[in-house]
Symmetry: C2
Subunit: 324 residues, 2 copies
């Protein structure tokens, strides 16, 4: 029997690590999940990862041919295969994760961060099929970006291109981390919109159900629900977020002239509450030659296996390159 | 005798149009210049252009083999070969310039705008030799940009990527054109720094030799000369310009992680007066992982034939692509 060609996708998050077997069409044959245990060193993590993968793969051993492994992980460098100074993982400053996994399985392994993996995922399997110039923005705890230009992911000179979450909205604005002020992700992310709600509660006297919620219990989901119930402060928080986001997207468009901007991640579950003001202000602030040309799209990969699909797509993309 | 392979470079400016014969090493064998006469229709411009080219080429007819023509021009679209709605030329809304010249000479013709031509010029013949990720910013009357990612010029989905002069510094800031507010080029350009001097003369009571100069007579060169004589307002104008420029360059670095940023054009003749504050603020506002990595360079093509070299490099670059 001819074995089916597949790649493995691994997505390492701060809480969970997901793995999956993905074929060339983006079908997920199987998947599994384990706790990342961010406080553990890599020496404890890897045996658990291999065990999880082997258990998932074993029923398929006769029927699949694993061509390679793609990994999406925080602070991952595609060029070097290193995880460098991961803020949320107790690993060494420079962990050669790609090489470690490659040495174990003796098949090609490629590594990149989650937003770049998502961009490749959209290009291979999602709404960016056939597009050569687009970007994926992931709106979760922070704001990540994966940019594609001329059909290739932008890694830049050092592998760290795509830090769109750290463009500056206001040099005297909200603190971000490491003493920085006014980064976009301090405004436009699941945590950013919570900060905006508190700012608005301070600025305006309007009644709001959000006045009953302590800061540390507030979530983007709660703001979405309040907005859907017509809460003025919650609605204004989306307007405020969309104005800042739209203005910075207009800058991104002026620089790169993409065909589409694809939004992904927790905050996008608020759907048109976020999309409508973002689109409106993006068009308003946009340089006229780009107006009414740029598609603002929701991810085509939403679902349980999204991150695994992206990681797998990273390896499919590499395999396609070598085919020529 | 084996004929020398060359391309022609044509640079169409608002005032002058320059042409040159350039070999594969970026040596300019000959060049010529004619008035553009922006008020004339294209039907008058083209015969004069052909005459200028033919007169320049005729002494070399026995010794050169012209492989193609590259043209740098305002509002030029590489994808379509059109000049679209040129603000400073009395041509039709859409002039198929590449095709018109190609039909006349029966050799390949490529077209792009001046900043993108400059980027290719730096990559082939200037300080960006061997670089895969960099950008050239042209600081003249306006601010243009040519961006290279993964070794290729970024044209974007529609050919108009690289409008870095129109990212927004301040949504309520200086008017730019067409009702827009706060575009970068309203601050960082030869005209932008003149506006800054007038703002500073209004804001501060300090004595300045620039108080004697009417707005319409003020030039970037005069501000440079005043600054070199220690004039406080002129020096502060460069500091103000460098702060805004540095902050927006930090954004560009976060997005694209270039190896170098190359500055070009009239305002850069002020040298360290501009470079020093720009570098200082770029580093200050930069996301930490990029600090002390990005080279801020002066063009390696400065001189009379710069724009012609860039236009010629555009065609050399195309010829190299087809060689494989």
């Amino acid at each position: 029997m001819l074995k089916k060609e597949v790649t493995l996708g691994i997505d390492i998050g701060g809480t969970n690590t997901k793995v999956g077997i993905v074929d060339r069409d983006g079908e997920c044959l199987a998947n599994s999940v384990m706790a990342t245990r961010a406080e553990e060193p890599i020496e404890f993590f890897l045996p658990r990862l291999y065990h999880t993968i082997d258990a998932m793969v074993s029923p398929f051993l006769e029927s699949i041919n694993i061509l390679g492994i793609g990994i999406g992980a925080p602070n991952a460098n595609f060029y070097t295969g290193l995880i460098e100074q991961p803020a949320n993982l107790k690993w060494a400053d420079k962990t050669p994760l790609a090489k470690l996994v490659e040495d174990n399985y003796k098949i090609p392994v490629k590594l990149t961060n989650d937003a770049k993996a998502a961009a490749i995922g959209e290009m291979k399997f999602g709404v960016a099929k056939g597009m050569k110039n687009f970007m994926v923005l992931t709106l979760g705890t922070g704001l990540g970006s994966g940019i594609v230009v001329n059909g290739e992911v932008v890694y830049g000179a050092d592998g760290y291109a795509g830090e769109f979450g750290h463009v500056i909205v206001n040099a005297n604005g909200r603190t971000c981390g490491g003493g920085r002020r006014g980064c976009l992700e301090a405004y436009v992310s699941a945590t950013g919109i919570c900060r905006t709600v508190y700012k608005l509660l301070a600025d305006y006297p309007d009644p709001s159900e959000l006045r009953d919620i302590p800061f540390h219990e507030l979530s983007a989901e709660m703001i979405t629900e309040s907005a859907l119930r017509g809460d003025k402060i919650a609605l204004e928080a989306f307007e405020y977020t969309g104005r800042i986001f739209g203005m910075k997207l207009a800058d991104l468009v002026a620089i790169l002239s993409p065909e589409a901007i694809i939004l992904f991640g927790g905050l996008t579950r608020s759907k048109e509450l976020l999309f409508e003001p973002t689109r409106k202000y993006m068009e308003e602030y946009m340089f006229p030659i780009f107006r009414n040309k740029i598609k603002l799209l929701a991810s085509g990969l939403e679902g349980a296996n999204t991150a695994v699909l992206g990681a797998s797509a990273l390896m499919w993309n590499e395999l396609d390159k070598t085919k020529v």
